[in-house]
């Protein structure tokens, strides 16, 4: 009876595991020649909510996103904001009314890297395995990527 109880509890624990079982590293990247060396997660949140528009050198931030349906975007949003991208839709409507646009959406990680390599102030995120010498890493996030 006791074993059955333990087995039942284990089953419950497995069932309660989040659907985001695969964890992976994601890197925050900017232009190779940027004077910035690191960006805290609080600062990153402000950049992606467009509350911070200039970096510490006074240059305009150009934050980049992947499409809202992209699993990396969903994982990034859940890890940084604890919310899915669609939960910010009303927020961005209000910002739009104030003349502030959401981050630019790029088609792919490679597009993010290409844009950042050529654009001062641009900042984005890609899988750690996708990063190369064209960009500089400012921080690393461990994200839970949805299945």
């Amino acid at each position: 009876m006791h074993r059955l109880h333990v087995f039942f509890r284990i089953c419950l624990l497995i069932a309660a595991l989040p659907v985001f079982a695969d964890h992976q590293s994601l890197v925050i990247v900017t232009m190779k020649t940027s004077p910035l060396q690191r960006l805290s997660l609080d600062a990153l949140k402000r950049v992606y909510l467009r509350k911070s528009l200039l970096d510490e050198k006074g240059r305009r931030w150009i934050p980049l996103n992947l499409p809202a349906s992209d699993s990396l975007r969903v994982g990034f949003s859940l890890t940084l904001f604890n919310k899915r991208p669609e939960e910010y839709e009303n927020y961005w409507n209000e910002q739009y009314f104030q003349g502030i646009n959401p981050p630019e959406v790029m088609a792919s990680e490679e597009a993010v890297l290409r844009f950042i390599a050529m654009t001062p102030g641009a900042i984005g995120y890609v899988r750690k395995g996708s990063v190369d010498k064209r960009v500089k890493i400012l921080n690393t996030l461990i994200i839970a990527e949805p299945h």
Partner: protein, 349 residues
């Protein structure tokens, strides 16, 4: 030679066949509610349109395409931004007393300003902007609010616009932050379009607003403005003081907002002193349907304390679109918020 040709062909094939090379770098296609960018000029066009219907009221029933707003914004990609909102009001209207017509149509300049970002904590705005009192006035566009009718407290005791200079910014404290705004209004000098007949316009004003963002689900605001109203210009110098507090709280599928304002003046009598406020709750019934309830109170100079309740539904099938239906009922409310059934459809474009 042949080897070199093979390498070249393979290289070309890999570029041509690469899904990355085929993919669009940036997703620039027009999307409803996100505006339209004019290439790389830095100019963006957008806006919203709203149509309203009111009936079952002491007043005649009425239909109108009440707002057609056009936003034009521009950024130089560095520290300078421009934003303007031009509104065509009551472009088409009709009702119990007259047929469909455009005779009430008129154009209003809602906003026009330049923002200069001094640094990440301070921006300077010059031009015409929405008065930073409470929350509703600053996001009053129909697609962004949950009811067709507007709470009396968000427009009755102060001017909805100011023209002058504003210092504003956001100061972070770890995960929390403080939005601040300090502004001065000189409408009569700076706004060539100010209307002498509109009693709600500021003559001159000095105000401040603070909003403490406790977290993303809770914000508390405090507003103060000291002002003259255009309607009493030439009369003895009566300055009004308005103090407001507001709150926005979201918990799971429920959102609560509230604003309370108090206005007094420096004249001997206190007939113009007034308290007004509202509390509103919005609950999600399903993915796209929402129930809305609001209670309002408003002191008024020519009547007893007015009170109204609003009960309604909203259908929000996608972020830029919203349909609303509500019934408003109250006491001592015929001047500012009469009973009736109100419906509207709004879209951001």
């Amino acid at each position: 030679m042949r080897h070199a040709l093979n390498v070249l062909v393979i290289a070309l094939m890999s570029v041509v066949a690469s899904p990355v090379a085929l993919a669009t770098e940036a997703k620039t296609a027009y999307q409803l509610g996100h505006g339209y960018r004019l290439g790389k000029t830095g100019i963006q066009l957008g806006g919203y349109v709203s149509s309203k219907l009111s009936g079952f009221s002491p007043r005649p029933w009425k239909f109108d395409v009440s707002d057609l707003s056009l936003f034009v914004s521009w950024s130089n990609g560095a520290k300078l931004n421009f934003f303007s909102e031009l509104e065509l009001e009551e472009s088409i209207s009709g009702g119990q007393e007259h047929g469909l017509s455009t005779r009430n149509a008129h154009v209003a300049l809602e906003r026009l300003y330049f923002d200069y970002l001094v640094n990440d904590l301070l921006a300077v705005r010059v031009g015409k902007f929405l008065t930073p009192v409470g929350q509703w006035n600053q996001i009053h566009a129909d697609p962004l609010v949950w009811t067709t009718t507007r709470p009396v407290a968000t427009e009755n005791l102060f001017s909805k616009h100011a023209t002058g200079i504003m210092l504003h910014g956001n100061i972070p404290f770890g995960e929390q932050s403080l939005d601040y705004t300090i502004y001065g209004d000189y409408s009569t000098v700076l706004d060539p379009l100010y209307e002498t007949g509109r009693h709600e316009n500021f003559d001159n004003a000095l105000g401040v607003r603070l909003r403490y963002n406790v977290d993303e689900d809770l914000q508390i605001g405090l507003s103060y403005v000291d002002f003259n109203l255009l309607s009493i210009r030439g009369a003895p110098d009566i300055r009004h003081h308005l103090l407001g507090v507001d709150l926005a709280w979201t918990y799971q599928r429920l959102a609560v907002t509230s604003e309370i304002v108090y206005r007094n003046n420096n004249s001997a009598g206190n007939a113009a002193n007034a308290w007004q406020g509202y509390i509103q709750g919005v609950g999600s019934l399903s993915k796209h349907f929402y129930a809305v309830g609001r209670y309002e109170f408003f002191e008024q100079t020519s009547n007893k304390l007015g009170q109204v309740g609003v009960l309604g539904m909203a259908y929000h099938p996608s972020p830029p679109l919203i349909w609303k239906l509500e019934y408003r009922y109250g006491v001592n409310n015929k001047d500012f918020a009469p009973d009736g059934l109100f419906a509207s459809f709004s879209v951001l474009f």
